[in-house]
Symmetry: C2
Subunit: 366 residues, 2 copies
């Protein structure tokens, strides 16, 4: 196991160039002790009394710079300090091949905010491809290398996550997740955003609206449904038993006949939730297409979220934008606060209403 070790034994740095410099080498170059180097390089705000003279300080800094010294994150962490690393852990590949279901938009915000706060990011891989930590309980525990960790994706192993939280390891979950006591999370305000969309449709004159959702118990779905119902109520509209269409496979179950039946009953607007696959929205679109109904004219459609990337060419759907970069940034802020030992809380992030082109006033009833 030692074959790759460039440094032979205990001698600080004989061969020199092949290995990263250690504090000991910086110390030798600066003519001080390793402890002094540590003191100089560890920004201690509460420097009570014990300070290093400006002269040695500069000497050490110069030596460190010229050697290109960088602290070893593992050692730093082991010695009970921080290493300026925030972990990002996702349970599917972070950069999936399929365009759908990508964490990219979140990462835009995560990277930006992390940089602003002075953190680098560690991307823990292998969660899906079974590489590094294959499976097993260790897969998740690798994140302890970082000061804290951000979790993406809805299907997080409860037990492992719970363990991290209980151990006091700073963890933030991206997406509402209340079933786990003490788990910090950030989320978007789907309830309010959906309410706003419904309110808008009602304002256009729609009286009967149907929500198309998938058969998933994720909080994100539940929130939209709640916002939908609240929106109906606020607009003084009835929410009959048929107002919510829930299906495990909307693209199969949402038939043109079904659609025609609704329209025949007086339904003039449909809203679909956004999910990884966009199945609800796709199902709605194709059903409308097959029935030959004119979209803004005969039926209004709204998407509770952003359209999948491969539908970028389609007309812009009415609905709301999920501010994913802001969500990512908020998550990082929260995580950084936890790492710093603060008792922070991030409020729900608001979604932005998107007028779009798929909704308009309903056609006058015959």
């Amino acid at each position: 196991m030692e074959e790759h070790r460039k440094r032979p034994g205990r001698t600080p740095a004989p061969a020199g160039r092949t290995s990263r410099p250690r504090q000991a080498e910086v110390a030798r170059l600066a003519g001080v002790s390793q402890a002094t180097v540590s003191l100089v390089l560890s920004p201690k705000p509460d420097a009570k009394g014990r300070v290093i003279s400006e002269e040695t300080r500069l000497r050490v800094l110069e030596a460190a710079r010229s050697l290109g010294y960088v602290p070893d994150p593992a050692a730093r962490r082991l010695a009970a300090a921080r290493n300026n690393l925030l972990g990002v852990f996702s349970f599917t590949a972070t950069f999936p091949t399929e365009v759908q279901h990508s964490y990219y938009p979140f990462l835009v915000g995560v990277e930006c905010e992390a940089a602003a706060l002075g953190y680098d990011l560690v991307l823990f891989t292998g969660s899906s491809s079974g590489g590094a930590g294959a499976a097993g309980p260790d897969a998740l525990s690798r994140v302890r290398l970082a000061d804290g960790c951000l979790f993406l994706g809805r299907h997080t192993p409860r037990a492992e996550l719970k363990r991290l939280v209980e151990d006091g390891f700073p963890v933030v979950h991206l997406g509402r997740r209340e079933e786990l006591e003490g788990l910090a999370w950030v989320g978007a305000d789907y309830v309010e955003a959906t309410r706003e969309v419904i309110s808008n449709l009602a304002g256009l004159g729609h009286r009967r609206i149907v929500l198309v959702r998938e058969d998933d118990d994720a909080p994100a779905s539940a929130d939209r449904q709640r916002g939908f119902l609240e929106g109906l109520e606020a607009a003084g509209l009835a929410s009959g038993p048929t107002a919510v269409f829930r299906s495990a496979d909307p693209q199969r179950d949402l038939t043109p006949e079904r659609l025609r039946a609704w329209v025949g009953e007086g339904v003039t607007a449909f809203v679909a939730e956004e999910t990884d696959t966009g199945a609800a929205w796709r199902g709605l679109l194709s059903a409308v297409g097959e029935t030959g109904l004119d979209c803004p004219g005969e039926v209004s459609l709204a998407l509770l979220g952003n359209p999948p990337a491969d539908l970028a060419g389609e007309p812009e759907p009415t609905g709301f934008d999920i501010p994913r970069p802001q969500l990512g940034a908020a998550a990082v802020r929260l995580l950084a606060a936890l790492v710093a030992g603060e008792e922070a809380r991030e409020p729900l992030v608001s979604c932005v209403f998107r007028p779009g082109l798929t909704a308009g006033p309903p056609r006058a009833r015959a």
Copy 2:
């Protein structure tokens, strides 16, 4: 700085429940030494001689399981003298807001291959000022925290990179980069791919072809031009002085008149290089559009690379696909080999010809 440490001082585990168990505790429960626990829990394939008896092995495993022992990654990496981290350094944000010019496709391959090889990724951002090194020239030295580092982007500071290479720090540059002695890199074979496109056009019957390129001296551009000229020669076609149209702003300089003139001279096909902005291709497309020439019919077009994301709706261009994920994967493989001390070399990655819809046989000359 010690506030978060649950374990008071040297006692192995007095308070018990607040902290994760260590090997020492497992050892105590199993009635063996810490070293034995380590030996049992560290899968050593080449267990030459030194073996633990099956009985104690099971006892230790049982103890570990019952305590919920999980190894501390920081300690593990410290003891192993490497940290299983590969750096990714880009000089613009790794996740840019603009869709164009994104490293995303590369990262798909990087993440996947890193996972397969058992590495985690550290993302460094050029602008971030975190960690030990302040901003400025030291920014680059932060990458030493990883076992090796991948560099993206054409505008890498030469001096700093040189320093890393000279120090023997494993570095791989994504994209051909030969001007720096000893710098490892991986690249796509633009020469061959371009040659193939030209050969294909010649096969269709085209006799006069013009290359539209931007005014950039990047290797990627030079390679395409070289492949273009070689392709012409191989097909027995003349490459007059007007065969290459080089412009700093093709969208401005590539006027409809210009295009008409070429067509009048007998040019029947145009190829454009791909760049971050896609300016050459955009210029070509808009000029053709304005002149009202029918694309596969009257002129053939080819794109030496992938179209920008915002042109996804357009008909698929003839040309070649740059296998970005494979490039990323190849870079990671090379980097991993360097980290392991091997003297590896990755060949150029081949691009894949894309038939597309924008090229066809030339219309018979009048």
